[in-house]
């Protein structure tokens, strides 16, 4: 029963879904590393991304232009992120830093409830699927769902773009500098609130992208962001809060452990295997694989 084929297929599907989870975790950890706050409404941006994708594919563009819909959905969530930072978070960050993350927690939790209610009010509790007429792709003897392969490749491209922006552009330099010293960048003459806006937009756009990509797989409904958000936080704990490589590696680890658990133990516990990994990490390495206890210089 433990055929090589099954192991390879399980491995591939684990990596593929893990990269999608990593997008979510990267968004959480990126916003945290710049703004030192947790965005608890992350799953709602995922949800909005999936609704945008559904509406664009079902009502406007048609299934052939699914890739264009993904770009537009992601951009839409990015713009929403800019607006949320400008309207809700920037006023908090103008105040002294003492209780900033407490306020940010309240604000983003309120946003979570608000967005979920709006989605329920507008679309009802129904589940939608943008469908996908992408063909099954054969890797050797193994069939892979076209939508999953497309989502995987899109996610890889997004991660590559994210890396290039962060590593090679002036914006990336300003973002990296801000993650290390908010006072330092202000002293250098950088408007730290403008950096926040960009970071929040990028962070939620990663969640929106994940939502749009996974819409055909995990369906579209008001609380569909919940499971991926929980997984995002699991990954952040495993990889270390604020660590970008940690988010990527832990994302793939989580995808693999779920995939193998579902295939070789019991698929009905799929969402629980990750917690075992989280517990193991908390015992062995409480700061996560790549977490730092504190920052210096």
């Amino acid at each position: 029963m433990f055929s090589t084929e099954l192991v390879v297929q399980t491995f591939i599907s684990g990596v593929m879904i893990g990269v999608l989870y990593a997008l979510m975790a990267l968004g959480i950890t990126f916003i945290y590393s710049i703004m030192r706050m947790i965005n608890w409404a992350m799953g709602e941006f995922y949800m909005i991304g999936s609704y945008l994708q559904y509406m664009l594919v079902a009502l406007v563009l048609g299934p052939d232009l699914w890739w264009l819909a993904i770009l537009i959905s992601t951009a839409g969530v990015f713009v929403m992120g800019l607006v949320v930072q400008w309207g809700l978070l920037k006023p908090i960050f103008r105040k002294p830093p003492e209780q900033r993350d407490d306020y940010a927690t309240v604000v983003t939790l309120a946003l979570l409830l608000f967005l979920r209610s709006v989605a329920t009010g507008l679309s009802g509790p129904n589940q939608y699927s943008p469908g996908s007429d992408l063909p099954i792709i054969m890797v050797g003897p193994m069939p892979l769902a076209g939508a999953r392969v497309a989502a995987f490749l899109f996610a890889l491209a997004a991660l590559a773009l994210f890396y290039v922006v962060l590593r090679y552009t002036w914006y990336g330099l300003a973002l990296r500098a801000t993650s290390q010293s908010r006072v330092g960048v202000q002293t250098a003459g950088i408007d730290v609130l403008a950096v926040d806006r960009l970071a929040f937009g990028i962070g939620v756009a990663l969640a929106g992208l994940a939502g749009a990509l996974l819409a055909p797989v995990f369906l579209v409904y008001p609380t569909n962001g919940l499971i991926t958000t929980v997984k995002g936080f699991e990954i952040v704990v495993i990889g270390g809060l604020g660590s970008i490589p940690g988010a990527l590696i832990a994302g793939v680890m989580l995808g693999l452990i779920e995939s193998f658990g579902a295939a070789f133990v019991d698929s009905s516990y799929q969402n629980i295997y990750g917690f075992a990994l989280v517990l193991a990490i908390l015992v062995l390495k409480p700061n996560g694989l790549f977490g730092e206890r504190g920052r210096e210089a």
Binding site: A174, R176, A177, Q180, V185, Q186, V192
Partner: protein
């Protein structure tokens, strides 16, 4: 005296700041002339760092105001003040720890670049030569020694020409070689660009070399001003700060 006619490079007017029960700055007024290198001395807790934080926008004053070349800085954010040409250093360095020396310098350059200033590569390389940090150019800032960090922080401030520098204890705990290099940089920038400096320090030997005039703060107020030798003879300054007269 006609204080409203002269435009000072840096002027504070009646600055007041209270932290809970502590009146950290109480009616602090001082003026620094264009191109001057002014020393700011006083015992620990006298309010020197608070003054620096008020001047550079880290804290908002409860009362009073700061003027840079005659322009009020009221309501300006830290980054706006930096862009207006008032640059500071911190007693505890605020560098970008995981970024290399070169990236730290580039960030300081790009944050306030002017369109005609080029891409900053040349400026960065020349600053690395001046600071003799060449062998550490690609080392993360958090791996540097305390003195090297202080030197790098000062170099970051000098990456873009500014009209006024406020240095908060730049020499504390720094070895003599790096200290001399830092003093040389300050003198050089001051001579070449005519920039104004306000230097907070406890190191009387350095203050004597750099600063023709010093301001003494005690208990949140300006207690005295004059040459170092003049203020060092005042009984209040001796009893409250120096402990004994200099030399």
């Amino acid at each position: 005296m006609a204080p409203h006619q002269k435009v000072w490079a840096l002027e504070t007017i009646g600055l007041r700041k209270r932290f809970g029960g502590l009146l950290a700055n109480n009616d602090v007024s001082l003026t620094v002339d264009q191109g001057e290198v002014r020393g700011l001395i006083g015992p620990n807790g006298a309010g020197k760092t608070t003054l620096v934080n008020l001047v550079t926008g880290v804290h908002a004053a409860d009362a009073g105001e700061v003027k840079l070349a005659g322009r009020s800085l009221r309501g300006c954010d830290m980054h706006e003040i930096a862009r207006m040409g008032l640059v500071r250093s911190f007693q505890v360095t605020r560098l970008f720890g995981s970024m290399t020396v070169r990236e730290n310098l580039m960030t300081a350059f790009l944050a306030r670049r002017s369109p005609e200033a080029g891409d900053g590569e040349e400026r960065t390389e020349s600053m690395i030569r001046v600071t003799t940090l060449g062998h550490l150019a690609d080392t993360p800032a958090k791996k540097l020694s305390g003195g090297q960090r202080a030197l790098l922080q000062m170099a970051c401030g000098f990456m873009v020409p500014s009209s006024c520098y406020v240095l908060d204890e730049p020499f504390a705990g720094i070895n003599p070689v790096i200290k001399d290099a830092m003093i040389d940089m300050i003198v050089d920038v001051n001579k070449r660009t005519g920039a104004t400096f306000l230097v907070v320090s406890h190191e009387m030997a350095v203050i004597r070399r750099l600063c023709p005039q010093v301001t003494v703060m005690m208990e949140g107020r300006v207690a005295a001003q004059g040459t170092l030798d003049e203020v060092a003879r005042l009984p209040d300054v001796i009893s409250g700060y120096l402990g004994k007269s200099l030399e």
